[in-house]
């Protein structure tokens, strides 16, 4: 907490205090970062694939023309928030669960339980890294939209960031919940894939929320990434997102986190 520089304790065996407790967690984060970067597949699907998808979609001429069904907005503009959400969903629901479940399955969490550091440090590091990779992807998508297709950057920045943060929390918590209920990494991958498709649909990958029939759009608005798509779309256009969308998103984040915490087993 305090930034006061304190001299290193002469007897480092004395436990307690926040400063010495940070070094182990940093070491865990450093090791997990190296390991994360040694899985280029995950990094590709989280950080490269979604902006790449956006770049490809923009090559289709109809995506670049104003669409009367969207009130004159170009389809490519609605796909920027969609690819942003794709990154969060891939990261949280597809990539994260098999990592966590594998750590439990292989007894890696158990081994860490026998050290002064709680195994939750491993999960926190992995969730942080998956979140960070998704953030890189978000920035790349915004850059592709802006540079290649002239899509304006989000105008309501605070609202956009809030919606993004809540959506990331919901995605990571959903992944943790999948990991909690999957006994093996293989099952986690399979369960993740089952959850993946409806979440992608709700985010508007096949049909942007703005283009959905009213009844469908309303229904999708109750799903975390449907609500997120609406909130991100509004903030991108310069409006403060509807509190109902933000509220639904926040509620999902809280419920999923609580459920993951409740049912997760360390061994």
């Amino acid at each position: 907490m305090s930034a006061t520089p304190t001299p290193a304790p002469a007897v480092p065996s004395a436990s307690g205090g926040s400063a010495p407790a940070r070094r182990p967690r940093r070491a865990v984060l450093r090791a997990e970062t190296r390991l994360f970067l040694r899985e280029p597949g995950n990094f590709f699907w989280i950080a490269v694939f979604p902006p790449g998808l956006l770049a490809l979609l923009g090559l289709i001429p109809t995506f670049r023309e104003p669409d009367p069904n969207l009130g004159g907005v170009r389809l490519i503009e609605t796909y920027v928030p969609v690819t942003v959400l794709v990154a969060l969903i891939v990261s949280g629901v597809q990539a994260l669960p098999p990592v966590i479940t594998g750590y439990r399955e292989r007894g890696i969490l158990r081994r860490m339980s026998a050290t002064p550091v709680r195994p939750s440090a491993l999960l926190a590091a992995q969730m942080g890294l998956h979140g960070a990779a998704a953030l890189v992807s978000v920035l790349l998508s915004l850059a592709v939209g802006r540079i290649a297709y002239g899509v304006g950057l989000p105008e309501q920045v605070a609202g956009y960031l809030l919606a993004l943060l809540l959506a990331a929390a919901a995605a990571l918590a959903m992944g943790a919940l999948v990991a909690a209920f999957s006994p093996t990494a293989k099952i986690a991958t399979a369960v993740g894939s089952v959850v993946f498709l409806p979440m992608m649909f709700a985010a508007g990958v096949w049909l942007p929320v703005q283009a959905m029939p009213d009844a469908l759009a309303t229904a999708v608005g109750f799903v975390p990434f449907g609500a997120a798509a609406e909130a991100l779309g509004q903030a991108a256009a310069g409006d403060w997102p509807d509190w109902s969308s933000l509220g639904i998103l926040a509620l999902w984040a809280v419920v999923l986190t609580a459920a993951a915490t409740r049912w997760f087993r360390w061994q």
Partner: protein
């Protein structure tokens, strides 16, 4: 968080001599099946204490309770005066563990694993020195997933010692090691003990227990069936010293049968094999001298812990 132990407020503090690990009346069941059924023992500071027993005897569950990885159903455990369930974090500072059936991240190298685990402790040991002692120097940049079973095992021994623990718990220390690596590991453990570290060793490997342990608890069916020094345990095994020789002239059967401590006698084509005790050995030698009989190819094989173990366990 809480320092109170609701399970055991009445147990008096036993004043054993410098017991650093105390286990009293430990019980643990999984889904109605009792795995540990009232185990009690105390490990003194600086000793190598073995827990020996057949598979499924409850050895691993017992030490996992000592490590604080499992909570006992009943009983009292103290590690340097701390309850491993309630004071788990403090205990992890004092106790290094080598666990059964745990792995590391497959893409983590040996060097990174040693650095990572060293960073988890306030005053760690030199990971490179440990790696050298355990023959891992050549493998420092090898990923965990590419290590052989024996190399993984040696890395876990290094990680158990890297926090400079006061107590180290080793579960199946040398399983998967070749004879050479096994002997090197035993030397390392003896050195660790010579520095005053207390060692709690789980094994089902007799030679290891006999070579390393000051005292051994034999566990069978969740209970301790015997607790003694290796020699003490061996002494309990009946007819465990074997004397075999081919006498130059036949000996009188009645005289042989009267030998003290004789448990069994066998005559195979003139070669006698007697099973008994040290007294039997002395008496045989005296008998041979008295009768001026030469014993060709005389062999006296000592009782081993194997004999004692088979005697003291039912399975």
């Amino acid at each position: 968080m809480a320092t109170t132990n609701p399970r055991n407020t009445t147990a008096p503090t036993t004043s054993r001599r410098a017991a650093v690990v105390e286990v009293e009346g430990l019980r643990k069941a999984y889904g109605g099946r009792t795995v540990v059924d009232g185990v009690s023992f105390a490990v003194e500071e600086g000793e190598i204490f073995g827990i020996l027993g057949p598979n499924g005897a409850g050895k691993t569950t017992t030490v996992e309770c000592v490590e604080g990885l499992r909570s006992p159903d009943a009983g009292r455990i103290r590690v340097a005066g701390l309850d491993p369930a309630a004071d788990h974090e403090k205990v992890t500072h004092l106790l290094g563990a080598q666990l059964q059936e745990s792995e590391l991240q497959p893409k983590l190298t040996v060097r990174e694993a040693l650095e990572l685990y060293a960073a988890l402790y306030p005053s760690p040991a030199d990971g490179y020195e440990l790696a050298g002692r355990l023959g891992l120097t050549e493998r420092l940049d090898t990923r965990f997933g590419k290590l052989s079973g024996g190399q993984k095992q040696r890395l876990f021994i290094a990680l158990a010692l890297i926090g400079n623990p006061r107590i180290v718990v080793l579960d199946e220390l040398t399983t998967g090691l070749d004879p050479r690596a096994r002997r090197d590991t035993w030397d390392l453990i003896e050195d660790v003990r010579a520095r005053g570290v207390t060692v709690l060793l789980v094994t089902h490997f007799m030679e290891e227990a006999q070579r390393l342990c000051d005292r051994i608890a034999i566990v069978d069916g969740g209970r301790i069936t015997a607790l003694d020094t290796p020699q003490g345990l061996i002494g309990r095994a009946a007819g465990a010293t074997h004397i075999s020789f081919t006498p130059s002239e036949p000996l009188d059967d009645a005289e042989l049968a009267a030998l003290p401590g004789l448990a069994s006698m066998e005559d195979k084509n003139g070669r006698l094999t007697l099973a008994g005790t040290d007294d039997t050995v002395n008496a045989v030698v005296q008998l041979l001298v008295r009768r001026r009989v030469t014993a060709h190819q005389l062999r006296v094989t000592d009782a081993t812990l194997d004999d004692a173990f088979l005697d003291l366990t039912t399975t």
